[in-house]
Symmetry: none
Subunit: 222 residues, 4 copies
DNA sequence: CATGAATGAGGATTCATTCAT
DNA sequence: AATGAATGAATCCTCATTCAT
């Protein structure tokens, strides 16, 4: 190792990069298959077929179908966290404007990447088996409560927000309203003959959700 | 058959009742199994084992695993509809009070019967395959929009509600906030180390949800 | 059950008998396959193919390849025990004659059913995993020490046998000499270009083994 | 190559020695793995992992799993032959003493190196596939018959041994009694709750085996 | 109506072996 | 001589479904 030339290192890196690409390829396909058919319904054969590699590679890298599932979940949570981090909210805005921006961001993310909503539905059906064993994910999600708290605090300081809304409670409302339309859009759509994913509905719901969230923190005249 | 005596008819009836009981038994067990493991994850063998009858009976009555699934979904929607019908709301109350009562009813139902929330998660993962082929269910769910509409209308007449909230929009908010805590309670709980099903959280969320919904219809001073 | 007619019982029995035949068929084939290729080397597919039923039936009855192996071992030990029980040794013979008969019986059994020797070789390679969990087999084998002891006691009483040979020690010598030629016959034959299973060798070794065993218990003039 | 300097030759040699060491390492690990799990049960991956080299080296040196097996068998037979050669038996002793020494040597070897007994069990399960294709091994084993013959001849000349015992027959008895306790020790131990490898049993059986063998050649008073 | 036996297609996983570097 | 990645053919096992009685 000590005598490895730069040429050798380069070779190593190229192989590593290729391997990483293979892994990512598998994860990508697996995410779609699992999101579409559920964990039990997804077929390793089918995942392999849609991949640039073979079934055995899945086991080489992930050990088992469940190991693959864990990698998929890990990836999907890492992605959403990355999106949240890169979503800068104007620091000099009013609390209301900040909250609006935050909700719109969240709304748009889920509208854009419906696989996340489906995957957590699946994770819930499996009793959050992945999350229960991943400390990493817990740590990943805590910061988002801080973001919400800072907005709440600012609103309280401004005198525009109620004082008794907890960050986790607000997070619940935001999540529920932004995710439900994705995770339960199929049944909702089937019953009421609407397509929540269509542009008009998306626009209307975006407005509705923002208003609902702002309504929760708004001071009431009662 | 044409010459059947009354004794024979009685026997027939008794047998019918027994058959109905058997079917209900199977549906009950199947609901739990499917809600627990998903449609693909549920095992016909396991369902049969937990039933008072045998596997062949499932095929006799429901034709296939999918047929059983349809019966299960049919049953679960029938149940919630029954609950909604029997929930009388005081006809002389204010629109606000009526809406509050309606939301609390909905909240309580889902808290009490989490299998419904799980089952619609599963139905969503399977692209609402059941609902798409069941006209009956669609008809079952329309009345609930009328209920909401009548409350909204009353509120508008009273001058206490906004005029621009659509029944389906309000239904979305109510459903999302009442169901999400059940359908996504496992992941939510795992990430934030809380048990949304515990009495304190249930109470706090009940209040929160009612306030959020009332906030949506409330006239704003802006 | 209480009202079952004799016709029904007969049907039941016929089915049971057929099922038992199926199980026995599987065990028979599995014994040969495992004895031939070892436990790991034996193929469930191959066993199924040689059977009158399908692969799934193997799992229906035995749960797993290992479960099948346990059934095979159980069966093979039951068989040898049955053979031992049915081998009457003339009760009025001299101890020497009795011992000779006992050894010849043992020798002939192993020569006749070489699968037993192969199966215990395999069981030894797997660290006696089956025997370690089967109390039944232990109990099955104890009586044989009593048989040997009674012969030894008679010889001592006659004054023709040594007093210091333990039943278990004698059993060891008999087993080793009767089984080794089967379990290790392939290598022995390959090295020395002989076929221990051929009639002449069998006859000569039968004589040799008997003499060796009698030699162990014989009083020595030293 | 033709112009290789002495420095290059030295390098060559060093590399050869390293290569030889690597091969021996692999053979050692493979012996243990195969002896433990059988030929089919042993895993090339596992062998490679426990080795100081990689899996590809195994294929580089031995071509295939079976090639490795042949090398392992070759090695294990070479080892026992070496041990036999180095076991000097006092040339002026009586035939009895010589035979006793020979048996004790054999007994001790197998007690000390149980892998040999396990390996020939495995080779037997695979129908002596290795031995059948190795002339070398056959030649290796013949001398041992000469050793036995010389002892027998001396005993006959002394008038202390029977005249009708064939060297191969005596070899059979010695092998069976010395090896069976190793190769079948697991089942024997499991059935009779004894540990044949323990010091007391080893001592008792050593005595027993010697007596049994001497008994075979001893002149009888019949 | 009821039951245990039976089936075939499929589904997850493994493993000896080879390849690219 | 050395290594991690890659492969394809097995290999064990499962499961919805049907059959015989």
């Amino acid at each position: 190792m000590s005598k490895s030339t730069s040429a050798e290192l380069k070779k190593e890196n190229l192989r590593d990069i290729a391997a990483e690409r293979t892994k990512q390829d598998i994860i990508q396909v697996a995410t779609e298959e699992i999101a579409t058919h559920g964990l039990t319904g997804a077929r390793v054969d089918e995942i392999a077929k849609r991949t640039s590699t073979s079934k055995a590679m899945i086991y080489y890298y992930f050990g088992s179908k469940n190991g693959l599932y864990l990698a998929v979940m890990d990836n999907i949570y890492a992605n959403i966290r990355k999106a949240e981090e890169s979503a800068h909210i104007a620091p000099d805005a009013t609390a209301s404007a900040m909250l609006r921006a935050y909700v719109e961001n969240t709304f748009d993310y889920h509208a854009e990447y419906p696989l996340f909503a489906r995957m957590i539905s699946i994770e819930n059906i499996h009793n959050a088996s992945f999350l229960k064993q991943s400390i990493k994910i817990k740590d990943m999600n805590r910061p988002l409560l801080l973001t919400i708290k800072s907005i709440l605090d600012r609103g309280i300081a401004e005198g525009t927000f109620r004082k008794d809304v907890k960050p986790l409670e607000l997070h619940y409302v935001i999540s529920a309203l932004c995710i439900f339309r994705i995770s339960n859009g199929q049944t909702f759509g089937a019953i009421f003959d609407v397509d929540l994913h269509s542009a008009p509905w998306r626009k209307r719901q975006r407005k509705l959700v923002v208003e609902a969230v702002l309504g929760v923190v708004a001071k009431r005249g009662d």
